[in-house]
């Protein structure tokens, strides 16, 4: 009976342990975007990103707080970004969740170019997207780097004609995330 009890405990421990081991959480993040329009270039960045990657199945979910973007060319621009365009009180997060298409070995160090397939939500509008990124796996962490673009029209963000020359229709996003195993 004692043997069984030990076995059970070992098994539970093993299960819990493996369960924790296959989750990686975002520990550091830098997300910035650029709007490169004929009359004005606008840049802003945020480090307020939470996210989780499950390496056993390559599934992930990342979330950025829209209000946390800083930068811009004036404080009024930031207010307009939150109030008029992103409506960040109504839609506080931008979210990307899905699965990595390629099957890669997360246990051996190396660099991989992969594609994440899933739903990207911004301004409350969900879009199915495939986003390319580069994963650098080392024993204690995973670095994710990606460049992609977001079309304002895809997410129902309307630009009034008077500022059309100042805001790009396509916003370029650059992100770097560092993920560490969940403790």
């Amino acid at each position: 009976m004692k043997k069984i009890l030990i076995l059970v405990l070992v098994l539970i421990f093993h299960v819990l342990n493996s369960f924790a081991q296959d989750l990686y959480m975002v520990s550091k993040a830098n997300i910035n975007f650029t709007s490169d329009a004929p009359l004005e270039v606008i840049e802003a960045s945020s480090n307020q990103c939470t996210g989780v990657l499950k390496i056993t199945e390559g599934s992930f979910a990342f979330r950025v707080t829209v209000k946390s973007f800083e930068g811009f060319n004036s404080s009024l621009q930031k207010t307009h970004f939150n109030e008029n365009y992103m409506e960040s009180s109504k839609f506080p997060y931008a979210v990307f969740e899905g699965k990595i298409i390629e099957e890669i070995d997360f246990y051996s160090p190396g660099t991989h170019s992969v594609r994440g397939k899933g739903s990207f939500t911004s301004h409350g509008v969900k879009q199915e997207r495939i986003i390319k990124c580069k994963l650098t796996i080392s024993p204690d962490k995973i670095i994710v780097k990606s460049d992609f673009s977001v079309l304002l029209d895809d997410h129902n963000i309307k630009i009034p004609s008077v500022v059309r020359q100042k805001i790009a229709e396509e916003i370029l996003v650059h992100l770097e995330l560092e993920l560490v195993p969940k403790k």
Partner: protein
């Protein structure tokens, strides 16, 4: 024994399966951010002015606001004066942000050829998150000087007699994305008044607010209640309604009001127009923001 192993196997599988089916996104909700951020309410009002008076907003660091205002004559003058549009009182002014909480302003109005200057300090900011505070509080300390020529040689009118002081507090709250309200207790001190009966120091309480119809179009209202006294007996409370349209760095405000002045000294204790008698005039403010930040 074999049965137990089998049960354990099932148990392990179930456990594992449970783990797999867990929604990753809902997991994110349970994560507490390491440093809890504080979010300050932004854009309680579209700009520094509500109608005749100011708002709790100050100009951000290294930004300059240019404001040009007109107040036309009263509409009850009829077609001869084109409903007041033949006469106009103007003020133009600049406001510059020293930092994100303090700004300086100057202005000139043709009403009594008045020059005005003021400092606005954001004492507290409405915030949510780590630090929570329900309202924004801004202090305005201002002074104005009337420079009209004095023609009555019998009475001395020294420079000190031409000075006016304004102390005003704006207590504002952004209730939601659409509605913001502010209370503004104000004290105006006039070094010299026309008759001994008139009060040198006048107190009033302003109440104002905005409601956003769309992201760029707002309706606004403003009322200044004069505390009982000689001034309240002989003058009227200032009441104004208007709309605001915002386009990028511009805010256009068009309104109707029973006041013709655009400085506190002028519209709070010296409003003669009566809404009930149609002494209301059309007015507008055009406000342009310039960013002086080097990019």
């Amino acid at each position: 024994m074999r049965n137990i192993y089998f049960l354990l196997f099932i148990f392990t599988m179930v456990f594992h399966f449970d783990g797999k089916s867990q929604d990753l996104l809902s997991m994110l909700d349970s994560i507490k951010p390491e440093k809890n951020e504080t979010y300050y309410a932004e854009g309680t009002f579209k700009t520094i002015r509500l109608i005749n008076g100011y708002t709790s907003e100050t100009v951000a660091k290294n930004e300059l606001v240019f404001c040009i205002s007109h107040r036309f004559g009263t509409v009850n003058q009829g077609i001869y004066d084109f409903f007041g549009l033949d006469q106009s009182t103007i003020r133009f002014g600049f406001e510059y942000g020293l930092n994100d909480r303090i700004d300086l302003g100057i202005g000139r109005s043709n009403y009594e050829k008045l020059y005005d200057g003021f400092i606005k300090i954001k004492l507290a900011r409405q915030s949510s998150g780590n630090k929570e505070f329900p309202v924004s509080i801004t202090l305005l300390e201002g002074m104005s000087v009337s420079t009209v020529k004095w023609t009555n040689d019998a009475v001395e009118y020294p420079l000190t007699g031409r000075l006016y002081y304004i102390h005003e507090l704006f207590i504002a709250r952004k209730f939601n994305e659409k509605l913001s309200l502010q209370l503004s207790p104000v004290i105006i001190h006039r070094n010299m008044v026309k008759t001994p009966e008139e009060q040198n120091t006048v107190g009033a309480l302003g109440i104002g607010g905005r409601y956003k119809i769309t992201n760029r179009f707002t309706v606004v209202g403003e009322y200044y209640y004069l505390f009982p006294g000689n001034t309240a007996d002989n003058f009227n409370n200032s009441l104004a309604f208007g709309v605001e349209l915002e386009t990028g760095g511009h805010v256009f405000q068009i309104h109707v009001s029973n006041s013709t002045g655009m400085t506190e000294k002028a519209f709070i204790p010296e409003t003669l127009g009566k809404w009930s008698e149609g002494d209301i005039g059309i007015g507008f403010n055009i406000i342009r923001l310039f960013s002086l930040n080097r990019k």
